[in-house]
Point group: C5
Chain length 232, copies 5
């Protein structure tokens, strides 16, 4: 039986003072950060994303996954020892677990390696009125939502569950190369019945997929290449 | 067929400590910033605005536009390397895309070069009750809103779409030389039926159009000239 | 015909580190700040207020007024060059315009020179339900509000309009020597019909009128005199 | 006729860097702070409280009272000159006035000298629905609230009025030696009719009464004694 | 008769600059912190938790308990003198008391020594509509909630009461080795009737139990061991 996984989204914002350090100090700090990522990536899924140019309050996002929460704790301890983290804040952090869906067979017990250029991530909370509906009614309402999503096969959804673990109920992450289509889908979903039961679905993060070293390079001067190679 | 564009609003606030630096350091930092802007402006729309004297939490706003989000990412990476950005925060950031309107033929697929002295910018979110109305009803309600706007031909509206990309649904930007007329229009719009479906329309930014160099000069001592030359 | 004016409320909070500077540096910083104020005050209304002892998040407030927003921008650029502003934040900022009232003949197109010891300032937003009432109904409801205000002739009201310009709809500023009477009036206004349509009326600032130099002196050790001379 | 008083609650949070200063610097800073308190306390009520161990965002609270707001302003100007305030923020500040109650004869026109070990303080705002009730109805509802309070004679209430002066309507301060009884009273008050008209009653501060010097000593190493002497 | 206890949850976040200090300074700071904990733990319950890798805004949590609030105050005064606290903020702090439950016989007057690997902690506030129900109705509704909890015997609940003492009504803390089961329980509780009366139940903290020294070691490089020994 496939196992459930912990999924962690860690957003970093560099202190502007970090860019005032010398080249060597910055390079060493990034090397140590990349080494911690490489260690964790042996045996666990790890993906990096740049948010430079899409957000003002975040520069880089790491998505880490493990069956054992100890591994994610350990990864963040080691990461915290890198020179880069001595100048970084963590403005957003989402902890969740994978879980089979009540509403769909396409359940995902693991976040998969990169398929798309963008990952659109947001925390999600439903109103309590939603949970007061009976299960059949909730199932019916979700089918309209799911059917609309299927009109966009180029967009892949990962849902993970934060109940009891973190400040949201779900963390949703949509992966695609087509940002315009994704925006259109989200706008169309506003008119579905399920949308009336949304309590909170912000902040929304447009994350650009990149190997760890490229996401780090974007922090002090080297943009991601036009042709981004997906995957670590 | 004209293409949709990404539109990015980037607001900057300088650390007061920046003003304690020597003249040379400040001048170099601004030169590097202006050079990054000039590079991007070759082939893309870029506009600068000063918010000194209109906001307490922002000093300068850059509006950048590109068909490819990579170009906006790249621009912000390069910008981040300027000396100025080593002392700046980004208190607000809005990412959106242009798109033909459902309600009006005057659709805009590009933000245009400067026409007015002021740009009034705010993020915009409608209530879920709005989206529960049927499409005809929404169309009817928007016509009253649009008709009122047409009584103010000196005010030009740019709407862009943030669904799925950022924390708001729309970013609206009104351009005009006549701030009093704009204030009157917004006050009159409060009594329209469409206004009842507004969930959030703040913060509101009064942005004064200026060439990049003038917007930068306003950061450390030289006000925009009384007669502002519009355009980069 | 009298012209409408822009009105700007600028609240400053000094970094505690400023008080660790030497006497000369602090004195020079305040002199430069006062000089910028004196320049602007030639031909424009400018008033200063101390909030030391009334607020924790603000030390000083400047109220500036001009027919042309360029003058207010220019004033803040010059002010920003003073030594004092190199150690100050602007925790609150309100931009508005004067305008004749729909509900009262006592319209004010200019904020007037100081008459009172205190200025009580707050941003004000009405519910959308208010704007859904028809104009006659709104007029009727405002008459009760205005009549109650007239029972307190020692309190003078300045209302300015922020629609489209800033995060609130109105900035209201009540001027009086009698803080207790003002508190009583505000408490009594809670039971009026108009009060049910208030969405937001905070933060509230109790501002103590003072010449610029006295408001500056209160930042590092010299309280406003018991007998305050009103006016610049 | 007894006069109404201004009441000011000033909460301080020390920068952790203050604890890195040498012993002499810290001692001098506290001495200057205590001297400012002693000056004000000649002729005015002044009380000090430690919040070390009860709050994370505040270390010390001063309650000052005067008939003339100038005295409170003056006190805070002088306080601001102490070495301690060069390393302190004011995360919370409440300004209010005493006033006879509409609902009870036990009106208080002065906060009295310390009687209890704890002061429980919070800002308080009622819903607008409350103010839409007629005066008799409000009176009736308050009697249940007051009767319940009288079952706890060991708890003393001070209410002061912030309408028009600050961000809340009331500042309430309960004084007692018995924290458990106070918690029980507040829990029981939740089921009264008056409780349905509460809009906001947080943050809540558990303040431990102490002479100024003891509250200052608790900032850098010396806990309040087990047997606290109440009063300045 | 067993006595009620004060319970204090203190969350710490280290300034990234702390990690830039030398090894000796960091080691001394942690030693002093651990010594303060050891002193308090003689005669009082004290538990430590790491939140590295589960939260972005907290690194470590201390849970302290005493019958006398003076002991908790004293503990935090001494803790504040450690080198570590000279570089730490307290982003969250919850103060509460134990109390027999109205709804269940399984009342707890003390938080017990560690049984589980995780402690899931959050502040909890009910709507005022809950308190308007009569006591029998509230009792009936809570029985469904409690029955569902009993289906998860591997999860142990500690509830403490903050009415009048702090910003929430309750602090709830669930202890278990099985995070997935806990997440499932919380998700299932959303559909109970009692859930409709929840006003606020965030932030949620996933806290990993550890001896004080291990929780401290995780701050600068040594992860908690895979096999964590529970208890101090």
């Amino acid at each position: 039986m496939p196992a459930r996984h912990f999924v962690k989204y860690t957003f970093l914002k560099l202190d502007p003072a970090w860019r005032r350090l010398g080249d060597d100090a910055r390079a060493a700090g990034k090397r140590e950060f990349a080494a911690a990522c490489a260690d964790f990536a042996e045996g666990h899924l790890l993906r990096a994303f740049s948010t430079v140019g899409t957000r003002g309050d975040s520069d880089l996002m790491l998505l880490s996954q493990a069956q054992n929460l100890d591994r994610i704790h350990e990864f963040h301890v080691v990461l915290g020892q890198s020179g880069l983290m001595k100048w970084a804040q963590v403005p957003y952090s989402f902890l969740a677990m994978t879980k089979p869906s009540e509403y769909s067979d396409e359940s995902r017990l693991e976040v998969r390696p990169a398929h798309g250029k963008y990952l659109f991530v947001y925390p999600f909370v439903k109103t309590r009125a939603w949970y007061a509906l009976d299960a059949d009614e909730r199932y019916r309402i979700m089918q309209e939502h799911i059917a609309l999503g299927r009109e966009y096969p180029q967009i892949e959804l990962n849902t993970s569950y934060s109940f009891g673990l973190d400040d949201q109920e779900f963390v949703v992450a949509f992966e695609t190369d087509d940002a315009a289509a994704f925006g259109d889908l989200v706008q169309r979903l506003r008119t579905t019945e399920s949308s009336r039961y949304t309590l909170r679905d912000t902040p929304v993060f447009t994350c650009i997929s990149a190997p760890v070293e490229r996401a780090l390079a974007a922090l002090d001067g080297e943009p991601l290449a036009a042709e981004i190679e997906v995957g670590l």
